[in-house]
Amino acid sequence: MAETTNLIQMSEAQQLGQRSARRLRRRRALASADRKGIVARTIIAVIVCIIVMFPLYWMLVVAFSPRGEVFEPGVTLWPSTFTLENFEAVFRRYPVVEWFGNSLVIGTFITAFTVVVNLLAGYAFARLPFRGRNTIFMLALATMMIPVQAIMVAQFKLVAGLGIYGTYWGVILPGAAAAFGIFLARQFFLSIPDELVEAARIDGAGQLRIFLQVVLPLCKPLIAVLTLLTLMGSWNDFAWPLIALKDPDLFTLPIGLLYLKGQTTPDYNAIMALALISVIPMVLLFLFFQRYFVQGFARSGIR
């Protein structure tokens, strides 16, 4: 066990060293690179960022503008008066608090189930030899590619048959059946040094104990990435909740957005206010944990 902690500490120290070395190299590169090139590249980057950011800026403008203003003739790029009336209207007319809560509950449950189930399966596919392992892994991978629309009629009938149509569970259980995380988890477990597991095994630990006490503590980045990606996916999911929910009080935020647009005269100011409400948690999550996001995507991309 002492050896285990030593190895972890060593790898952490190495990472720290690498990071500061990288920073130093960058600073030197910035200093030595040609000035003109940097200016040109910065201008391009600024233009690209303005284009990419504009739709989000526009969401803010519409959300905070007086009703109907942005659709009057003449180009207006900011609100004439900054108003909260759209938010007030949205909260007054629709069960927005409930929608937010539904998104939160459904997202939390899907994420909790998915992460636990995928960690277990990913570990088995990476480290526990058993017959049929590769076949099942390939099957799981193949399901990653299947769009819900290909099987949604049958899934709908199944959920109705189980008596969970129109409930939280009707969204949560099929949502947790996704296989994406298995792949990510397996890649991560494959990269854990054999010596750690072997040492624990010689000490007489069972597989479950090795998994829980030796391997899992090393998996914080993996767990963070899986949690973030799954939460983001379920928070933003649309197709399945659209099919599985019918009662407006149980809608998630994306379905609520569509519901607002379905009104006889859609109030786009109110829609943008709700869009903003639905987007903010994920943007904050992303800004706080972006290192993990990027790492997670990068890791899944390397191989």
Partner: protein
């Protein structure tokens, strides 16, 4: 690799264990493995594998809402072969994929190279370009609706202000398709950039130095070093982008609803329309089976190519 080390341990720690004991140990090991994947297997069997089989069965039936389904054999597939909307949806899916995937990847690589070079506030730029990735397709679609609004939307107002004609984003097919494609590229380009950034960071700077000493121009360096060495990222992105394009649903559902006419209808929206709006569930399931078959063919190709890639490495 794992298998060898596990077996190695058994023989090393207990060399005198008789055959039967070893078999029992291996059996116990297999049991543990199956135990670990059981929760996942139950969920997948119930909500993925079973519905796949059921979808195939449904595709041979006709079920209009209530009552017992009729067994109609291949009728749904025959109907599909003569259904112009199905062919239109298939063609739209292909066009969407063929247009958006290369643009996304080229822009992603370009931005990755740009934001991997010496640049002040590089992290801020990166964050801004990746940010759209975390925004839901529905919210994105709604923002796009307010921007591409045909009468007095901001895009048409700007076009008119600089002396151009407004574009019929909602009433004409081609502009409607183009508007959806623009938004799809916006939503995905950050993901492409992130993956390419990771790929670029695996390339050793010495290679560029050597090329520079040999007098290679920046473009030559890009062609001869960058492009080939981000090959694995390109491969991965090709798969992910094609899958995403093939399954684009929320954007189209929110922005155009498949219209005007069937101009932006794709396979997944058409399957949804039949399964849940027109309520021809058997026909909807049959379209789903076609989507499934195309997906499986693609997955198979991917599996084959990625295996050979692993062997090469």
């Amino acid at each position: 690799m794992t298998a060898t080390s596990a077996r190695g341990t058994v023989s090393a720690s207990a060399p005198a264990v008789p055959r039967a004991g070893r078999r029992a140990a291996r059996f116990r090991e297999a049991l543990v493995g199956w135990g670990f994947i059981t929760p996942n297997l139950i969920l997948m069997s119930l909500f993925l594998f079973a519905p796949i089989l059921w979808a195939i069965q449904l595709s041979f039936q006709e079920t209009r809402g209530f009552g017992d389904p009729d067994w109609v054999g291949f009728d749904n597939y025959v109907k599909m072969a003569g259904d112009p909307v199905f062919w239109r949806s298939l063609a739209n899916t292909m066009v969407f994929t063929i247009v958006t995937v290369p643009i996304d990847m080229a822009a992603g690589l370009g931005l990755a190279v740009l934001l991997n070079s010496a640049l002040p506030a590089r992290g801020v730029f990166r964050t801004m370009i990746v940010l759209p990735m975390v925004i839901s397709g529905v919210a994105t679609g709604m923002i796009a609706v307010t921007m591409f609004y045909q009468t007095n939307g901001i895009i048409n107002k700007v076009l008119q202000a600089i002396g151009l004609d407004p574009i019929a984003w909602q009433s004409e097919g081609a502009p409607a398709m183009i508007s959806v494609m623009i938004v799809a590229v916006w939503l995905r380009v950050g993901f492409n950039m992130v993956i390419y950034l990771a790929g670029l960071q695996g390339i050793s700077p010495e290679l560029y130095e050597a090329a520079r000493i040999d007098g290679a121009t920046r473009w030559q360096q890009f062609r001869a070093i960058t492009v080939p060495l981000v090959g694995p990222s390109t491969f991965f992105l090709l798969i992910m982008n094609v899958i995403a394009s093939f399954q684009v649903f929320d954007l189209i559902f929110v922005m155009t609803g498949g219209g005007p006419g069937d101009a932006t209808s794709v396979l997944v929206t058409y399957a949804y329309r039949n399964g849940f709006q027109i309520r021809e569930q058997g026909y909807g399931a049959a379209i789903g089976v076609v989507i499934l078959i195309i997906t499986l063919i693609f997955t198979f190709i991917q599996w084959k190519t990625s295996r050979t890639r692993d062997l090469v490495e």
